[in-house]
């Protein structure tokens, strides 16, 4: 698909886990699913949120890497850490504003969503976008997304004082120019809830 971009719309996610399963099929991280699918507040809501790598223009994960192991391809895709260099320190895991990289303890290496580079580099859709039934994860052209969605795609974020521009777009209401992130406190966070050994929702939240 020519000139395709990745669009994410958290509010459309139905938590079907199709993206999680499909992600592990990708050749660049065979057998290991790189996508995160969060249950947001399991006791009160069925809301779920998928998180892929947003592929920042100036990736913070790469900046804080002591081994200089994280590189971006000329087409703007931030790759998993280079195997000969990665030392498994988890600086990238802890610094990514989107909470994306995963430390694989068995191989002592950071791996992350690379937009299924074996597919997207030859014009195919990433696995998650191929299987997502609700359009929460979409890989299509800008014209197509503007034609078919209510909101607008933007790719500028602010975390505290840090402005981050990403290759991946998020769908927001038309009047929004940038996503400003502050810590949204909700009463139902796992630690705030009373302990109940039979609370399945809490078990899932902590899983």
């Amino acid at each position: 698909m020519k000139n395709a971009e990745f669009f994410i719309d958290y509010s459309r996610c139905i938590g079907c886990q199709a993206c999680v399963q499909a992600c592990a099929e990708c050749d660049t991280h065979r057998g290991v699913s790189m996508i995160h699918l969060e249950t947001v507040a399991r006791r009160e809501s069925v809301q779920t949120a998928p998180q892929i790598c947003m592929h920042c223009e100036e990736p913070i994960c790469a900046q804080v890497c002591p081994a200089d192991a994280i590189k971006k391809t000329p087409d703007g895709v931030v790759q998993s850490s280079l195997k000969p260099r990665c030392i498994g320190c988890s600086n990238c895991v802890m610094s990514c504003p989107f909470g994306v990289p995963k430390y694989q303890i068995d191989i002592d290496q950071m791996m992350k969503c690379d937009m299924c580079y074996d597919r997207s580099s030859v014009g195919k859709k990433p696995m998650c976008a191929t299987v997502c039934p609700s359009g929460a994860l979409t890989y299509t052209t800008m014209q197509d997304i503007q034609r078919t969605r209510r909101g607008i795609p933007i790719n500028e974020w602010k975390f505290g004082g840090e402005v981050v521009r990403t290759k991946v777009y998020v769908m927001v209401p038309p009047e929004v120019q940038r996503v400003d992130i502050d810590v949204v406190q909700i009463a139902g966070t796992a630690a705030a809830l009373p302990r109940d050994p039979y609370d399945v929702a809490l078990m899932l939240e902590n899983a």
Binding site: S11, D68, G99, I107, I181
Partner: protein, 358 residues
């Protein structure tokens, strides 16, 4: 692959001067080592001067690149923290034991590569040990640190000298002599096994094929193949072809080695020097697990070591990453899982706000 612009921007004039100084110091140290080790060039073999010259350039390049690498704020912090934790008196004896454990596991056996894939381990182990074995022979020979002589009393006895001091002697028709004289051939065969295993994997693994690059992934294999095969040609010329084209082949071999030495500091081979320098991270991680844990300001759960979070804040400040939040909290104190949930909730709240306005 692109370099990070913020890090590149930080490499200013003082960094270059600093790195050049370290490069020159590394070169001077090696020149000093050659002069002392060859007893004032007494045992230096002029036929190998081109190898020694290329190694001096490589020493400059390695000193320069290593210094530049250590100028990066995260690398610098981890380097010093690693040493700090390693040298802590109350941990020191445990750390020494652990150092041997990780040297054995990570460097000698390379177990962590085996867990990635067997073919990758096969390729890397043979390449690594073939190259290290060849380097352990070639460098001392070209620096004049190692030389061989026959005994004056017997032409059948050979003696090896290290830094001009006799260390071992052996008969010419012994197994040890065969191993000594063919050690470079054994190393070349090991490297070739590694090269073919690596090419086999790279030609069949769709994931590797998608991300591999000629300069970073294939060039080193081509160089190692060229060195090994031209080295074996020399043996073949001597033993099978009565020295046919030996001069040409030895010059060809020298050219392949020199090109590789010039490439050494700037390409993939730099990881040979980079990775052992970062064994300190292992000690840092152990100290982090044993120390105070960071608690997420959103969910209240532990998610990593307090020391690492505090160090990351320092690194972020040095890189001008501004994660301070409006309510005097810091985004670094939010765990990765809460960051993901938080982003979804923020987008959600935007749609709710938009709906309420209408």
């Amino acid at each position: 692959m692109k370099k990070n612009s913020r890090n590149v921007a930080k490499a200013g004039g003082s960094d270059v001067i600093h790195a050049t100084t370290w490069g020159l110091l590394a070169t001077a140290a090696l020149i000093g080592g050659i002069l002392i080790g060859s007893r004032g060039l007494r045992y230096f073999d002029p036929a190998l001067v081109s190898y020694a010259g290329a190694t001096l350039f490589a020493a400059f390049g390695l000193g320069y690149r290593f210094s530049m690498w250590l100028r990066r704020p995260p690398t610098r912090l981890y380097w010093f923290r690693g040493w700090e934790v390693f040298l802590q008196p109350r941990r020191f004896s445990k750390n020494i034991v652990h150092l041997f454990e990780i040297l054995w596991s990570n460097i000698v056996l390379q177990r962590f590569i085996g867990r990635r894939s067997r073919m990758r381990w096969t390729a890397h182990w043979f390449l690594a040990w073939g190259c290290l074995m060849a380097a352990a022979i070639t460098f001392p020979l070209s620096f004049g640190w190692l030389h061989f002589e026959t005994l004056r009393s017997s032409q059948q006895m050979y003696r090896a000298f290290l830094f001009g001091i006799p260390v071992v002697q052996f008969p010419l028709n012994s197994i040890i002599a065969e191993l000594m004289f063919n050690a470079l051939d054994i190393a070349a065969v090991m490297v070739l096994i590694g090269v073919f295993a690596a090419l086999w994997r790279r030609g069949r693994d769709h994931g590797a094929m998608a991300v591999q690059q000629f300069a970073d992934d294939l060039m080193p294999l081509i160089l190692l193949f060229a060195i090994s095969i031209t080295g074996l040609f020399l043996t073949a010329s001597t033993h099978l072809m009565q020295g046919l084209h030996y001069t040409f082949l030895s010059e060809l071999h020298a050219i392949t080695v020199i090109i590789t030495l010039l490439y050494l500091p700037f390409g993939k081979f730099f990881h040979i020097f980079q990775r052992p320098a970062q064994l300190g991270v292992d000690f840092y991680k152990r100290a982090g697990v044993e120390g105070e844990q960071a608690v997420c300001i959103r969910c209240g759960l532990m998610y990593g070591s307090r020391m690492q979070m505090d160090d990351l804040k320092q690194v972020q400040a040095a890189l001008n990453i501004q994660y301070q939040l409006a309510n005097a909290t810091h985004y670094q104190d939010v765990c990765p899982s809460c960051r993901r949930k938080n982003i979804a909730l923020t987008q959600d709240s935007m749609w709710i706000a938009a709906a309420q306005k209408r």
